[in-house]
């Protein structure tokens, strides 16, 4: 039976983390050598955690499914990373970053976690600079900043349009050092397929070596999941093609509660889908909204070229509806506005799936060179994909699934409901509530990995009696068998349909009924259609080749099988939440002019779902209490 104890320290917000760190027990240096920790994932969260744990003296075994830890999906983050440095002296502070994040998340996150995140944000920048991350600089040599959506200060640090790449290369280099020192054993091309739980504690994982196909059990004193987000459940998303839910989903089936699975961020500015074979959507960084203006023709103008439409006939809809924040409203607000217009038939481009993002004004005011320097790589990317030159014709953009605020439930110590199983980065649910602000995920991943987990896991290890277990312990054998029988089942079918066709279908269903807008009827129908689709999958999926070799289709089919189960959990969560908050918009709960209506009396809680073998998942609620900020209607007008 799952119980949710957030373990948030009492007392003033500002000193919670310091006091907590002091009261935590430490593991003595000599004992650390004898303690082994498994880290799954090498994105910002996993690489920073594994390297720091190695540096502290633990024996670390680290896994990722790519051929190199440096290729984790974090590498693709473009825009930047937030920190409350207040280098611009524009009124920023830890308190303001805290407040912006709580409000941006529409009052559905835990105050204590968010405050701590804002506090350690400043250390992250220092750490990254020390590791050689080449952040953008001013002429005077100081670190440069840009602004991002949902806030009124400039606190985002960046490396051109490649911030994730540079931060990950920094964390990866720290990891390389620990691998060289023998503190970390790195196992790339190895996929976790199950969790080993012994006497209620997480004690290891079962993995498949993606080259040889060997399935093996790895045991340890504790397990850390840093396996990223699951936006790919929608099939088309901005995520890397390998991103998936398998690790956290399998942990869920072993007893870890899953929190707010339906909170999915749909990013407003991606390149619109253009054709049926499309495998992914490409993000155009949010930073473009600093200078680009969103508009559609006031009356649908058919194929009329945008440059022929005079400004009196354009509707700059975000500036009109949200005069204070204009084009820089948070992502959920912008995405919904775009969707509403397109649903009304006012969209532009093929199928009316798009709005213009126009740079004419800034090019006129500041010159082409300035724009080229700021966004050149994005404009190039846009041209390559669409064949259009955005310096001359406005970009077309459309929302795309991008980030999952939901994830495994964790307490203040980042531990799940299974003792010894810690979850960090996008894989947990902790800090972003119902909507994440731009440039805050990189911050959270590195906060978790460099600065928070290394402390909190020490306390667990110092205070828990952990007995040695043999590799062929009963629970390990059972987990191995679960994995082996699934692999056999996937390969055994005589099917005629590809895993991708099922993936596309479940993605489409979710996008239509559990995407930017949700309603009771649609969700209930979806809860009926998904099991049927899943049955068809197991009856009719075609997976060629064998399990004893490198077999990409087998890997993929396994991930799709998990998506097909997980999609149902998402819908249960969306159905239960009879309110609109952040990215979760229930059509039944809106004001007459289409703004979301939150319900703090009934839904000021985290929804944490427990797995049940036969029957729907069980809902547990962690109440959210706000001691330091008063939840208000979230207005950006």
């Amino acid at each position: 039976m799952t119980t949710l104890d957030s373990k948030v320290p009492s007392g003033p917000l500002e000193t919670k983390w310091d006091r907590h760190r002091f009261s935590e027990k430490l593991v003595s240096p000599n004992n650390k050598r004898r303690i082994k920790i498994i880290v799954v994932g090498t994105g910002l969260a996993g690489a920073s955690a594994a390297s720091t744990l190695g540096q502290l003296g633990y024996e670390v075994e680290c896994f990722c499914f790519q051929d190199s830890p440096r290729r984790a999906h974090s590498i693709a983050a473009q825009g930047g990373i937030n920190a409350a440095k207040n280098y611009q002296d524009d009124g920023d502070s830890v308190a303001r970053l805290f407040y912006d994040t709580i409000k941006g998340g529409d009052f559905r996150s835990r105050e204590a976690n968010v405050y701590r995140l804002a506090q350690v944000s400043t250390q992250i920048i220092d750490q990254c600079v020390a590791l050689g991350v080449p952040f953008a600089r001013e002429y005077g040599g100081q670190l440069a900043n840009r602004s991002f959506g949902g806030v009124q200060v400039s606190r985002t640090f960046y490396c051109r349009g490649q911030t994730g790449q540079q931060l990950l290369l920094g964390a990866y280099s720290a990891l390389c050092w620990q691998i060289e020192r023998g503190q970390v054993t790195m196992r790339p091309r190895t996929e976790m397929l199950d969790l080993i739980v012994v006497d209620g504690h997480a004690r290891g994982i079962v993995v498949r070596d993606l080259v040889s196909g060997h399935v093996t059990a790895h045991t340890a004193h504790a397990v850390v999941l840093a396996t990223g987000g699951y936006s790919n459940v929608y099939y088309l998303s901005t995520n890397a093609s390998g991103s998936n839910v398998t690790a956290t989903y399998r942990a869920w089936k072993q007893g870890a509660a899953f929190a707010n699975p339906s909170f999915t961020q749909i990013h407003p500015t991606a390149i619109p889908p253009s054709e049926t074979h499309q495998a992914k959507l490409t993000l155009m960084s949010e930073s473009l909204r600093n200078d680009g203006r969103l508009w559609v023709p006031k009356v649908p103008s058919g194929r009329r070229p945008p440059n022929d439409i005079p400004s009196s006939e354009r509707d700059y809809f975000l500036e009109r509806r949200y005069p204070q924040f204009g084009n820089l409203v948070p992502r959920d607000v912008a995405s919904r506005a775009v969707k509403t217009l397109c649903d009304e038939g006012r969209g532009v481009g093929p199928g009316g799936h798009g709005v213009y993002l126009d740079f004419t004004d800034v090019i006129e005011q500041q010159g082409l060179d300035v724009v080229r320097e700021r966004y050149g790589n994005l404009f190039d990317m846009y041209q390559r994909i669409t064949g259009e030159d955005a310096y001359r014709v406005p970009m077309r953009i459309y929302p795309a699934p991008h980030y999952t605020m939901g994830g495994l439930w964790v307490d203040y110590n980042l531990m799940s409901t299974i003792p010894g199983l810690f979850v960090i980065g996008e894989a947990n649910f902790a800090d972003h509530g119902a909507n994440r602000l731009g440039a805050s995920s990189l911050m959270q991943g590195l906060a978790d990995g460099y600065f928070i987990l290394p402390y909190t896991i020490g306390h667990y290890l110092a205070t828990t009696k952990i007995t040695p277990i043999a590799e062929y312990h009963r629970e390990s054998r059972e987990a191995l068998e679960r994995v082996a029988s699934r692999v056999t089942k996937l390969l055994g079918g005589q099917g005629r349909r590809t895993a991708a066709s099922f993936h596309r279908e479940v993605g489409r269903i979710l996008w239509d009924h559990c995407g930017m807008a949700r309603c009771e009827g649609g969700l209930k129908r979806t809860l009926q259609s998904i099991p049927a689709l899943r049955e068809e999958f197991w009856r009719d999926v075609a997976v060629p080749g064998s399990g004893e070799t490198f077999n990409q289709e087998l890997e993929y089919a396994g991930r799709v099988a998990d998506f097909l189960e997980f999609a149902e959990l998402i819908c249960h969560d969306a159905l239960h939440r009879e309110e609109s908050c952040g990215a979760h918009f229930r059509e039944e709960h809106q004001t007459p002019d289409g703004e979301p209506k939150r319900d703090d009396t009934r839904f000021s809680h985290v929804a944490a779902w427990e797995y049940r073998e036969n029957g729907p998942p069980i809902l547990h609620k962690e109440p959210l209490t706000f001691e330091f900020v008063q939840p208000t209607a979230r207005s950006y007008e």
Binding site: I75, G132, C176
Partner: protein, 262 residues
């Protein structure tokens, strides 16, 4: 559009491998090269055949996974992009396209178009880092770094580690890769204290892994998806030379405490 594809198929490292011809029909010019391969693979799967193995993840030119030699050129005919950023509108309808894996002694083939590039990671592990512990770093603005210098570091740091430079080089040298890594850290003040050890260790690792010597032909720069300049190879050579001088104990100019570009 339609195309004839000659694709390298190889069951595993011990198989000899061969080209197999496939037809790609109903290709739209807006498809990416990898989407075109996806659709060929979908066709193979429903026929019960094994799809062509190839590497991909981000599909936007940043992770460095994708790695195809297209018509003899790593990452294909367009400069400054990775395979995943190549679109079919770049090819003429009806063309025959050959597709091969990276070929280099240090990159053994795993299957079809997928190779093992862990050698690059091992070169990084030999010294491609700044050894600072987590915590205790000074404020990020304490050491000022000029904009130009930061830009130079960033130019070098853009390397996505795909290995195209190795695949393009007759000697299968990894000089451009190592040069990018060494130059990135050497051009920042934080990287200075370890520069001697770093460059020596990485060069030794490069030899150990079976990468060849630089032949000064610059095919590497031509195929680099990030257009990393070969002038960084000159920086690497300078760093290496300098390290030799430092190690042999000859008197050297004392290191400047702060950043100046060199």
């Amino acid at each position: 559009m339609k195309f004839t594809l000659k694709i390298w198929r190889q069951q595993g490292p011990d198989d000899k491998g061969r080209f197999v011809t496939y037809q790609a029909h109903e290709v739209s010019p807006d498809m990416s090269f990898l989407e075109m391969l996806d659709s060929v693979n979908q066709g193979l799967i429903v026929k019960g055949e094994e799809p062509v193995a190839f590497e991909h993840d981000c599909r936007e030119g940043i992770c460095g996974s994708c790695s195809l030699v297209i018509n003899g050129v790593p990452h294909g005919p367009e400069r400054g992009i990775a395979t995943c950023q190549l679109y079919m509108r770049r090819f003429s309808d009806g063309a025959t396209i050959t597709i091969e894996p990276w070929r280099a002694r240090a990159f053994p083939i795993i299957k079809d178009l997928v190779v093992d590039r862990r050698a690059l990671d091992r070169v990084m592990q030999a010294g491609g880092y700044i050894s600072v512990n987590t915590g205790g770093a000074v404020d990020g603005n304490v050491v000022l770094i000029g904009k130009d210098q930061a830009e130079t570091a960033m130019d070098a740091a853009s390397c996505i580690g795909c290995g195209a430079c190795v695949a393009a080089c007759k000697n299968a040298s990894a000089m451009l890769f190592v040069a990018a890594k060494v130059s990135h850290l050497a051009s920042l003040p934080q990287g200075k204290p370890e520069r001697t050890r770093r460059v020596t260790a990485m060069m030794e690792a490069m030899d150990r892994e079976g990468f060849g010597a630089c032949g000064n032909q610059y095919e590497c720069e031509a195929v680099c998806p990030k257009s990393i300049s070969v002038r960084f190879i000159a920086t690497l050579n300078r760093e290496y030379l300098r390290a030799g001088v430092v190690e042999s104990g000859a008197p050297t100019v004392p290191e400047a405490p702060h950043a100046e570009s060199d």
